[in-house]
């Protein structure tokens, strides 16, 4: 089987397992996984911008918050449920992402990182101080329903799983298209990309807004998962740092990397339990270790391992085939 064939098989297998999982695990773990999936969705968005397009963002917690508060306010004032909140949250984040992209167009590298960090902090400050958002008091969301059906832990698990699958599919479709190639081209060489006819302004803002919309969708699901939003979570830039950590540790420019990295940043503090404050230290250590020893992240290390095994298994077979064909000749 080709590497592409393996990739497809393993992806289908992984989603198959995720579909069956709630049948065998307690609903508490299903809920924890749903929480992780919301992070994965956000990380896929961040990876599109930072991993593929090479625009480092330390501000996507802001888009996550926009998605979360959009759906929370809609639920509170209009009584809407998950689907409309999710759509509005994603679109709103996408539009604001477009705006931020326009503003940050001429920035790159560390300057862009700082500008996006500023964005996250500004969003946090607005949430803290504008009474509509209820600051640390927060906004409570009612029971979740999807298309008229009430969903609990396991039901919501499937909702988030489906959205995660769709976001990953969309991301994959973009990446393998000419538009995805243009994103990567801008990362590798802006000058050459321009000479090939890639409109930098257009494609950068496009990357920004798609990425922001995806992260906003993750935020909306996060809000419905917790059924509560407050500046306890959204008031500072830690979410943004979490997402960037997820992408770098998981693997820049890899969908699998987004998933692994998001799993990492959620699970580490969870399993540390009482010691969860040490998670930041662990994340920091992981970041440094990855940048020094495996810049391609967890996904890259896995892929290398897989290729080695694949080659070792494939080798004797080709040898046999060669011998057979030589024997015939």
């Amino acid at each position: 089987m080709s590497e592409r064939g393996w990739q497809l098989t393993l992806t289908v297998l992984a989603f198959g397992i995720l579909l069956a999982l709630p049948a065998v695990i307690p609903s508490f773990y299903a809920s924890l996984l749903a929480f992780t999936f919301a992070y994965v969705i956000a990380a896929v968005g961040v990876n599109l911008l930072t991993g593929y397009t090479g625009l480092v963002t330390v501000g996507h917690g802001g888009f996550f918050a926009i998605g979360a508060y959009a759906t929370a306010l809609m639920a509170k004032h209009l009584g809407t449920s998950v689907v409309p909140g999710l759509l509005v949250g994603a679109v709103l984040a996408g539009v604001i992402g477009f705006g931020l992209g326009m503003i940050c167009l001429r920035l790159g590298g560390a300057f862009l990182a700082i500008a996006t960090l500023g964005f996250a902090l500004a969003v946090g400050a607005i949430l803290n101080n504008w009474p509509v958002f209820e600051g640390r008091e927060g906004i409570q969301l009612g029971k979740n329903s999807v298309l008229g059906l009430q969903v609990k832990d396991v039901g919501f698990y499937y909702v988030v799983l489906v959205v995660m699958a769709l976001v990953m599919l969309a991301s994959w479709s973009i990446i393998r298209s000419g538009v995805g190639r243009a994103f990567v081209a801008m990362r590798d060489s802006e000058r050459a990309a321009e000479a090939m006819g890639i409109h930098l302004r257009l494609y950068k803002t496009l990357a920004f807004s798609i990425s922001a919309a995806m992260t906003g969708a993750g935020g909306a699901l996060f809000a419905h998962h917790n059924r509560y939003v407050s500046t306890e979570t959204f008031g500072d830039a830690w979410l943004s740092v979490d997402f960037l950590t997820a992408v770098v540790v998981g693997g820049q420019g890899s969908l699998l990397g987004s998933a692994l990295g998001a799993g990492f940043v959620v699970m580490v503090p969870y399993y540390l339990g009482e010691l969860r404050d040490f998670a930041y230290i662990l994340n920091g250590v992981a970041l440094i270790a990855v940048l020094l020893f495996a810049p391609e992240g967890m996904a890259g290390v896995l892929a290398r391992l897989f290729r080695r095994i694949h080659r070792r298994c494939a080798q004797p077979i080709t040898r046999v085939v060669n011998q057979v064909s030589v024997g015939r000749g």
Binding site: I174, S177, A185, D188, R191, A192
Partner: protein
């Protein structure tokens, strides 16, 4: 007929005059050379044409169309493609991807491509087929899936040329194509450049230091020095032109025995 007409172009960098009213006509179908000593303004003029550099006065017209309001990403749609002086490939990508990115101007509707709509997929398949043919022409078929950074220098040069030609330009701008090449590689590239010109009917404008390449491929040459035209003619005429010899070697001073 002239494909490209440059009239009185001036470029200033602060107080420095990089181009001081340069003229140049590139006839359609020719291989045209732009030469001159270091700092003569060749690359500046080259960048003015490919729109990486703005110019203060004068005009640059391509097929009678003024280029002054266009950006670097626009000119390829008019049929002007370029290469870079010190190989500027998409490092992390394969040979195939580099050629495909070269075809960006033929991508069509980006939304259809992004969403993998049937029309987008059809276009993609067509581009892929053309990329394969392009790779075959440049002898790159064996390295299609290899990351370009790992390719030998000569291969990288060819990927860069294939990428520029992938857009199917009518005017190809080459910025010092044989910089860093040995004699063998220079000869190889001369053959390739001539083939591009003859078989694909592409007009070529080449900025070059290397006289052997200029002599081998150029039909006509413009020589710049200190941002001004100093000579124009066939490579043979140019190499014996007193102003050119002076620009390159300095003024001839009688030597006293």
């Amino acid at each position: 007929m002239d494909l490209l007409t440059v009239r009185g172009v001036r470029v200033f960098f602060g107080g420095l005059t990089a181009l001081d009213g340069v003229d140049m006509n590139v006839p359609a179908g020719s291989i045209y050379g732009l030469i001159g000593p270091n700092g003569a303004g060749k690359t500046t003029l080259f960048n003015c044409i490919s729109r990486f550099q703005t110019y203060a006065n004068g005009s640059i017209e391509y097929r009678g169309r003024d280029l002054s309001n266009l950006g670097p990403h626009d000119v390829i749609r008019l049929g002007i493609a370029r290469t870079f002086q010190n190989i500027n490939l998409f490092r992390s990508r394969s040979t195939l991807d580099n050629i495909l990115i070269g075809m960006h101007s033929h991508l069509g509707n980006p939304l259809a491509a992004m969403l993998s709509l049937p029309s987008g997929l059809k276009r993609e398949a067509a581009l892929r087929e053309r990329a394969d043919r392009m790779a075959e022409m440049f002898g790159l078929t064996d390295v299609l899936d290899q990351q370009v950074v790992h390719l030998p220098f000569g291969y990288q040069k060819r990927v860069e040329l294939a990428r520029a030609l992938a857009a199917e330009p009518t005017l190809l701008l080459l910025d010092e194509p044989v910089a860093g090449c040995n004699e063998e590689e220079t000869r190889e590239l001369s053959v390739i450049i001539r083939n591009i010109n003859r078989e694909r009917k592409v007009t070529v404008l080449v900025v070059e230091h290397d006289m052997s390449l200029v002599r081998a491929v150029c039909d006509e040459v413009t020589v710049l020095d200190f941002g001004r035209n100093i000579a124009r003619g066939s490579p043979q005429e140019i190499l014996n032109h007193p102003a050119v010899v002076e620009a390159y070697l300095g003024e001839a001073v009688p030597v006293r025995a």
